[in-house]
Symmetry: C2
Subunit: 324 residues, 2 copies
């Protein structure tokens, strides 16, 4: 039987950057192109720019001999996957009820799928990243805020309105710090990148000595999770404490999810997860302490493997899996 | 086409009582029999008694003209549904790796299925109770402790080890009161029946005036959630406060689950849920405050409808659905 070479295009359309990749049916990247998203120029320009980037990737000579399967898009907003409509977005404020899938299908005369960017990233990690082989997988993306994605029984679980897996707004500390959602004690104000930076600044302002001050030349605005991690590696006490607290909060939240769903893998992605074992190891300890023994031992807690390509590759994977 | 009349037997085998029912394929109960479980006499006697009760129900004259489909059992312990083995139980301590399904299949020469009692109760409520029609449903059983069951995409979600849906050990108050699992701030020590009674006793011991004291003739050991609910209905301030706090804790936990899974229904069963609207209405308010708007509006929060028959009926339903 003649095995035709195929490819799909995956797009990660975020407020700051747009990444377009082409990959084969095993998720191997063949072409990639990244640009700043012209967010401030409005919706129409963003769409036009995305279409142009897709054309550009599609026309790469390396794809000439391959059959084009279609386009998957991960978008930073609320998506109705079934209708292919962008319902709204906090990041790109003039997007309301935009039939993005249809626009793309018409323009390229091919199949397209559109999904939330966190779903696309989770799918990518499950398909060819840290979560491959897991039947049920939880993905926590820990960046400025905490987002998530969920694979249940080898299927992306979107929920009926496409708003499932909102782990950043899980209450784990009833009277804890205020979250931007209006509640107290969500994971977001305790364990996001924003929370790590803020807590560090507060402790320094309270007079706590730390090497972090040198690392940012006394400019508190430059404190980021990676600066805190660097100081922790160098043995700074405050930094070590901040990382340890963050790991304990994340461990409590992950233990809740493990007790509820018994996943095979928990994949941590996003900038904060880049801290790596320094953060992930104490998370594992906290989970073993907090979750039930059987599911806690089952769930592998792993750093994501695809970096900032998870969303684009996952979007291509969602398109490919939808065709079979 | 000749529609043969059929029936299945469902068993709810708990540490205190054993309920055996026969129902038709729509879940309509045809026969029921309940006895105290002879737990203290050991495993063999409990099994023997269960077999005798099943025989007894099966031989009811009302079932004579019907085809016997098999037996479903809900058991208060850790079950491997796929192998039909009871792995262990806190309630019935001499049960380890008991091949209960096989024993029953051999004895009755019919199909049997065995599942955790909380799963069976959740299935019952989804099949013919408060959760019917829901594609995804969360069941919280709030009694002495808090247990749960989970229907995802019209399927009972057990998790790979049969230990999913452990909602009672969800951390919602990071430095909160100690739970019997060893952690702090789980739902159990905040919102279970035990927690309601304990918190009430503590406040009274701290000198808080309450009508509850009269209701229990000054015997603090007799304070139960239903006594607290009774006093609350009568306008007692402490009782109202305890119920309100409990609803807020439950609301926070349920909001976490709604943000994660976007269920169509959340069904509350068990003794504490019997308090009814006095408890459930403030839970709804707290959920609307804490969960995201779209999934919070979708999720109906409902009192269970099948009472103490949910487990037995659900077990029969699990057997019936496994045959098709």
């Amino acid at each position: 039987m003649f095995m035709e070479l195929k490819y799909a295009i995956g797009v990660d359309l975020g407020a700051t950057k747009t990444l377009v990749i082409a990959c084969d049916t095993k998720g191997q990247i063949l072409v990639e192109k990244q640009e700043k998203t012209p967010t401030s120029e409005g919706k129409e320009i963003v769409i036009k720019n995305t279409l142009k980037m897709i054309e550009n990737v599609r026309d790469s000579s390396v794809l000439k001999e391959r059959l084009f399967l279609g386009i998957g898009i991960g978008y930073a907003g609320l998506i109705n996957y079934d209708t292919g409509i962008v319902r709204s977005s906090i990041m790109l404020p003039d997007w309301f009820e935009v039939p993005l899938q249809e626009k793309i299908e018409k323009h390229f005369n091919t199949d397209a799928r559109i999904d939330n960017d966190a779903n696309a990233a989770a799918y990518g990690e499950w398909w060819i990243g840290a979560g491959r082989g897991a039947k049920t997988m939880i993905c926590l993306t820990i960046g400025t805020g905490i987002g998530g994605g969920l694979i249940i029984n080898n299927q992306l679980y979107r929920g009926p309105d496409g708003t499932a897996a909102e782990f950043g707004n899980m209450t784990i500390d009833y009277d804890g710090p205020l979250c931007w959602c209006g509640n107290r004690g969500c994971l977001n104000p305790l364990a996001s990148g924003t929370a790590i930076s803020q807590r560090t600044v507060e402790r320094i302002q309270q007079g706590k000595q730390s090497r972090i001050l040198e690392l940012v030349n006394n400019n508190l605005d430059e404190i980021t999770p990676s600066v805190v991690a660097k100081a922790a590696v160098e043995g700074d006490e405050l930094a070590g404490q901040i990382i340890a607290e963050t790991a304990m909060f994340l461990g409590a939240g992950i233990a809740n999810l493990i007790n509820a769903l018994n996943p095979d893998a928990v994949v941590l992605s996003g900038g904060v997860a880049e801290i790596g074992e320094l953060l992930i190891n104490p998370i594992r300890q906290e989970v073993l302490k907090r979750a039930f023994a059987i599911p806690a031992r089952r769930a592998k807690i792993l750093k994501a493997e695809l970096g900032n390509k998870a969303g684009a590759v996952g979007a291509a994977g969602i398109l490919i899996s939808s065709l079979t």
